[in-house]
């Protein structure tokens, strides 16, 4: 069984004013664990990036009991699920020092060609990631249904938001969503985060980021020439 484990100390720069881990920082931790573990499993840089293949995140879902807080030490676990054709599922948990599970996550990764930006079949790329079953898996992310939005702003992807893949990094979508969160929602506790990365967006490209609020959810959508992403934040308390 191959489960990646990493000890993490929650720093001041990782948290918001409510001292809870910010969603974008959480996603950054999950992303780095994915990359590092994939490297350990032999499907890292020399097999992918250096050969013109890019790992991209398609969907991610996080179920939260509570977010880690400033000063806390936690354990991040991650493991790959069984490959499904061109899809690479991955699972995550964050545990506190007593072993209590604070949150669980699932994600769907795939490989694309750096040149054509099309999905690559793993057999063609010579990539295989053996799956592990721990019994702690949560369901893979479902699609996020589009919702009515009431607020919208224009956004142009700055250079500093782009990553090694040449497009806006996954965590930046969370940053931009958080920037639109109403102040009162920022004081509530999150219970679920869902993200659909529908299409990449690159430096200089523009999209309208829209927000819709209903019941205990904030829904964000990035749209321009195409639909770029959806984010759904669900809270424990009704608005």
């Amino acid at each position: 069984m191959s489960v990646f484990r990493r000890s993490i100390h929650i720093r001041d720069c990782d948290v918001a004013v409510n001292r809870a881990l910010r969603p974008s920082c959480l996603f950054s931790m999950l992303q780095e664990a994915s990359i590092d573990h994939t490297e350990q499993l032999g499907a890292g840089r020399s097999k992918t990036l250096d050969r013109g293949y890019l790992w991209v995140l398609a969907r991610q879902n996080v179920m939260i009991s509570r977010l880690p807080v400033y000063g806390e030490d936690v354990i991040l676990e991650s493991w790959p699920g069984e490959m499904m054709h061109i899809l690479f599922p991955r699972y995550y948990r964050i545990l506190d020092t007593s072993g209590e599970c604070l949150l669980s996550a699932s994600a769907i990764w795939s490989l694309i060609s750096a040149e054509t930006r099309n999905i690559v079949f793993p057999e063609i790329a010579g990539i295989k990631v053996p799956g592990t079953v721990t019994g702690n898996e949560i369901p893979l992310p479902s699609g996020i249904r589009r919702q009515e939005t009431t607020v919208s702003r224009e956004f142009t992807v700055p250079y500093s938001y782009t990553d090694i893949n040449g497009h806006m990094n996954n965590i930046r979508y969370l940053d931009e969503a958080e920037n639109m969160i109403p102040e009162f929602a920022g004081r509530l506790s999150l219970r679920e985060i869902a993200v659909d990365y529908s299409h990449e967006i690159c430096r200089g490209e523009r999209m309208a980021i829209s927000l819709g609020i209903s019941d205990s959810c904030c829904y964000f959508s990035g749209d321009g020439e195409r639909h770029y992403f959806s984010v759904l934040l669900k809270y424990n308390n009704d608005f």
């Binding site: 398609a58 969907r59 499904m84 054709h85 061109i86 899809l87 769907i108 795939s110 099309n118 999905i119 079949f121 893979l140 479902s142 699609g143 996020i144 249904r145 589009r146 529908s198």
Partner: protein, 85 residues
Amino acid sequence: MKREEVSEIIKKIIYDCVPDSVPEDITDDTVVNTDTAIDSMGFILVICRCEAELGVKVPERRWQKLSTFGDLVDEFMRQLEKTKK
């Protein structure tokens, strides 16, 4: 498994995976794979979920032939029939 049962299973999976990509009343003629170049993550997720739910595999070489909901149902019925033999 009857075609109606398979149809309902696939329909539920489609609504779950790609809730905004299809109308509320899916028929056999409803186009579910708008990108036959197999770049549609949603369509691929549907295939994978259907495979897991129905316990059969659809070869990747057949994906490009699957455009409508009816095509999907027929293909999974075909694969289910194969497992009986």
